[in-house]
């Protein structure tokens, strides 16, 4: 297994994983009488006390609606909400906080772009390019858009290692290509896609590009201006923040030209019986009372990962994945699914004829939480001609001892099935 680390070489010997673990109360839990070994981080990450306490403080001390009250608490809540928007802006290095739209998650962000930007600009005969690696959230919204508009959906294929075949991508691109939507990192296999190159090639034919960063933001720094992507989306809960909150970044000129996605309070300037005028960005896309606590909690999560430095944690995670790969490679019958040269934090595998759901149940009995199934990426499973995989996914609070516990639990699967 090769893990190319794009970050500069950082000394992780001073990386204090125990100190980090102490920030995550749930890591002290026991499951089935065993210490919890949480290796399902690609599904959702655990929350540090800094995030939990931020939510607690908001509800205890200044819970209030935003952007409308004249009272003190409302002002305090509004300030905290808009400060979090500034944090997201800096986190993605966006040009303006008007480009940061709060949504429920990456899924809602993609649906917003498909239904607002897509329906406004796509017509019959246009083409939308996605990849065989995508999560269902970056497939189904485009299928719906194609049904509504008569556009055609095309897929960049992957090779046996789970990497995009870029020559095929180039063949798919043409003047009819209007949107290219690609995951930054694959949730099923961990493949890191060459998104800068994908974006540049799409722009060369005049297409707009959406990057699904749900799996990427916990593992790598993102600079949307440098990438020059038109949209970038992610979910807060995979970034150690609350569930139910996510971010749509869009270039200001594009967002400005897009029609509203949902109508309601906060997104209007004036409403009369016959017609309404819409609020300016970013509020135009934030109808109704938003998930205020979620936004403020996401701000705290961003503070937390900034403090740790994603370059440092990524290096630690890569070393951990290398170790896990070495250990797993010793297990007879274990087959890696997804062996991209450039990958991160995900060990997806099959084990002889043992079904991944049985692996998941047996590992759970040992306190080891992994995901078993198709990972909401059925086209990937189809590509590898398997119904499912078992997937261990790592975060910076995982340890070598936890990898050892995983390996021992996998051995137990083999014993149970003789």
């Amino acid at each position: 297994m090769n893990n190319q680390n794009t970050a500069t070489n950082i000394n992780t010997s001073t990386f204090d994983v125990e100190k980090i673990r102490a920030d995550f109360p749930i890591l002290q839990e026991q499951v089935n009488g065993k210490p919890l070994v949480y290796l399902d981080n690609a599904a959702t990450a655990q929350k540090p006390r800094q995030v939990i306490e931020t939510l607690d403080t908001y509800y205890r001390e200044y819970n209030s609606n935003i952007h409308r009250g004249v009272h003190t608490l409302s002002q305090k809540a509004t300030d905290a909400y808009e400060t979090a928007r500034e944090k997201v802006k800096s986190f993605l290095n966006a040009n303006s906080s008007k480009e940061i739209i709060f949504v429920r998650g990456a899924t809602e962000a993609i649906n917003l772009v498909a239904q607002s930007f897509g329906r406004d600009t796509i017509s019959a005969g246009d083409e939308i390019i996605i990849t065989e690696l995508e999560h269902h959230s970056n497939i189904v919204p485009w299928q719906l858009l194609c049904e509504q508009t008569g556009a055609t959906l095309r897929y960049i294929p992957i090779n046996d290692a789970g990497e995009l075949i870029l020559e095929e991508y180039e063949k798919l691109l043409n003047e009819k290509t209007s949107i290219v939507a690609v995951g930054h990192i694959s949730n099923a296999l961990g493949t890191i896609n060459p998104i800068k190159l994908i974006i540049d090639k799409a722009h060369a034919v005049g297409a707009k590009v959406l990057i699904d960063g749900a799996q990427a933001v916990p593992h790598t720094k993102v600079n949307v201006q440098e990438l020059d992507c038109d949209f970038y989306v992610f979910s807060g809960h995979k970034l150690f923040g609350p569930t139910g909150i996510g971010v749509l970044y869009g270039k200001e000129t594009i967002l400005d030209a897009m029609p509203p996605y949902q109508g309601g309070g906060d997104m209007i300037q004036t409403v009369s019986m016959t017609k309404s005028t819409f609020n300016a960005l970013p509020h135009k896309f934030e109808a109704g009372t938003p998930h205020i606590a979620g936004v403020i909690g996401l701000g705290a999560a961003i503070d937390y990962v900034n403090e740790l430095d994603l370059d440092v944690t990524a290096q630690y995670e890569n070393e951990l994945l290398d170790y896990a790969n070495e250990q797993a490679a010793q297990i007879a019958d274990l087959k890696f699914v997804g062996t991209a040269k450039n990958k991160t934090s995900i060990l997806s595998f099959t084990l002889g004829k043992i079904h991944p759901h049985d692996i998941g149940t047996i590992l759970d009995g040992e306190g080891v939480a992994i995901r078993a199934g198709h990972h909401c990426a059925m086209p990937v499973m189809e590509r590898f001609e398997i119904p499912a995989t078992a997937r261990a996914s790592f975060a910076f609070y995982n340890t070598r001892e936890e990898v050892d516990a995983l390996i021992q639990a996998i051995d137990k699967c083999k014993k149970v099935f003789g």
Binding site: G33, H357, D358, T361, G365, G373, H374, F417
Partner: protein, 148 residues
């Protein structure tokens, strides 16, 4: 505390490794598919019946050990049973894996090996997929069965 061996008993491991009645029944009168969309377990049930009795039954498909063993044990138990007996067994089995009611172990025979599933709510549908499919066949349905 549940021991994993309570779930994966010897008989289940054995029926998963070498499923009985596995393969298409060429002269089946009734064929129905069952599908568990959440985890991808898939099976097709083939039944030869005179309208009163199950004369022969088989299955094929793919799934976890629990779903394969359950289908293997169920088809073994169903051969020669009347449709009424089959329905009665369906109810007994359903009680066995979802309730604390005293199960009729004599009636269930080897099927009782699946009792451990009750402690794993996420796996109940693995064991019950084949049964719901059989139940639909007996009720005369030809709509593929989905468990969620």
């Amino acid at each position: 505390m549940f021991d994993i061996k309570d779930l994966y008993q010897e008989v289940i491991v054995d029926h998963n490794r070498s499923p009985r009645n596995f393969g298409k029944l060429e002269d089946a009168d009734k064929t129905l598919e069952g599908y568990n969309p959440l985890c991808g377990d898939k099976l097709t049930l083939y039944i030869k019946t005179d309208g009163e009795k199950i004369n022969d039954i088989s299955f094929d498909g793919s799934g976890c050990a629990i779903s394969v063993a359950s289908a293997s044990l169920m088809t073994d138990a169903m051969k020669g049973k009347s449709l009424q007996e089959a329905e009665s067994l369906f109810n007994d089995f359903h009680n066995l894996i979802t309730t604390d009611k005293e199960a009729d172990i004599d009636q269930l025979g080897k099927l009782a090996a699946l009792a451990g599933v009750k402690a794993y709510p996420a796996r109940v549908k693995c064991a019950s997929l084949c049964w719901h499919t059989l139940h639909s066949v007996i009720e005369g349905s030809d709509t593929p069965v989905k468990t969620e």
